[in-house]
Symmetry: C2
Subunit: 216 residues, 2 copies
């Protein structure tokens, strides 16, 4: 019985996700879903991406959090349109939450929509939002074993951003082991090593985004 | 309708949790549920706790992971009885998984049972396992805003371990801001600042555990 309920929910979510993508496509908006553990640096990556693409594409942001509006305030300071979704306990965003947010964004003024999911390396993997690309943000201090321990997220992703490379000298982290683990799960995944603190690697990441958008 | 299903599941879980605690109490086992984001250092904390309490109490471990047996192998090398639970996708442990594990542990040879939950700062908060204490492990590189952004976990916890204090010089993290955020959510929470890399602060944590067990 529970399985049936779950299937209905996922089915309804997929329908709404499809409808979201139609709405995005109709407005020529390319949407990217950023998923990660709490504290991997999703918001910092959003901020660095805004900086890196300034004058090249017009960005909009959807901020997903269980509670608080900290991150959306940081982003609004950049002069970028942002909608905060507070899930009130839910461990992931879903397509109907995104629909609501899309109806509150100036879609005709946005080329690239960055969606920051709730910090959770498990549940968001199961919910399509209508996005064009799914990104996992991993971070150096989390350890090089994360792809092996949380494979679902890496199976469905289109690319991996490995953040906080500036901490490599101070923690045990084997980049080769991380890359091998990722490739074993999904060998099509591009991996971008970045530091949102120093800015290292951000240009390769934003160039990839532009290419995926068909802008390069 | 869905809410009713969820209530039934949680009700059944609470019953099983109660039964687990009876089984633990009958065997004089004190159980601690360690919850955290992926990569906060739960396994390292388990290893340091085993080391710190060697010769004082007999420890057993339940390792919860979505997949892989890495962590339980590390722990078995310490000569400690360990059962691995692979949830196969589930984002948290529940009481019936714990029951299964308890039936595969030598309970009469264990004083302190450390349960490492799945890495997830959201979902495990909702599921009682029959444990005597709930601990949130937070880590410095995750940022000082985690209590504000994931309050549920801090509301239900008995204590907070803040790990990776050796990284304080290299990241933006305001210890006072973290402490204030924790206190605002739950002013009864003890906070232990530790580094599982250097061993700093571990003794204060293990002394607290002993006291909670009534061993001091």
């Amino acid at each position: 019985m529970e399985i049936k309920v779950l299937k209905d929910i996922l089915g309804a979510n997929d329908q709404m996700a499809q409808s979201n993508q139609q709405l995005l496509d109709g407005n020529h908006v390319f949407a990217v879903n950023l998923m990660a553990s709490p504290g991997a640096g999703k918001t910092s990556l959003v901020l660095e991406t805004i900086k890196g693409l300034q004058g090249k594409v017009r960005i909009g942001v959807i901020e997903g959090d269980i509670s608080s509006t900290f991150d959306s305030e940081l982003i609004a300071q950049q002069g970028v349109p942002v909608v905060q979704i507070n899930t009130g306990g839910e461990c992931h965003l879903d397509a109907s939450m995104i629909r609501n947010a899309l109806e509150n964004l100036p879609l005709t003024d946005i080329d690239l929509l960055l969606v920051e999911n709730v910090g959770n390396l498990v549940c968001p993997a199961e919910f399509n939002l209508g996005e064009h690309r799914k990104i996992v943000v991993s971070s150096v201090p989390e350890g090089d074993d994360k792809p092996i321990k949380y494979p679902a997220m890496f199976i469905i992703a289109n690319a991996v951003v490995l953040n906080k490379t500036d901490l490599l000298p101070y923690v045990k982290f084997d980049s080769d082991r991380f890359r091998e683990a990722v490739r074993e799960i999904n060998r099509k995944l591009d991996i971008f090593e970045v530091s949102c603190t120093t800015g290292e690697g951000i240009e390769r990441w934003t160039s990839w985004l532009l290419a995926e958008m068909g802008r390069k």
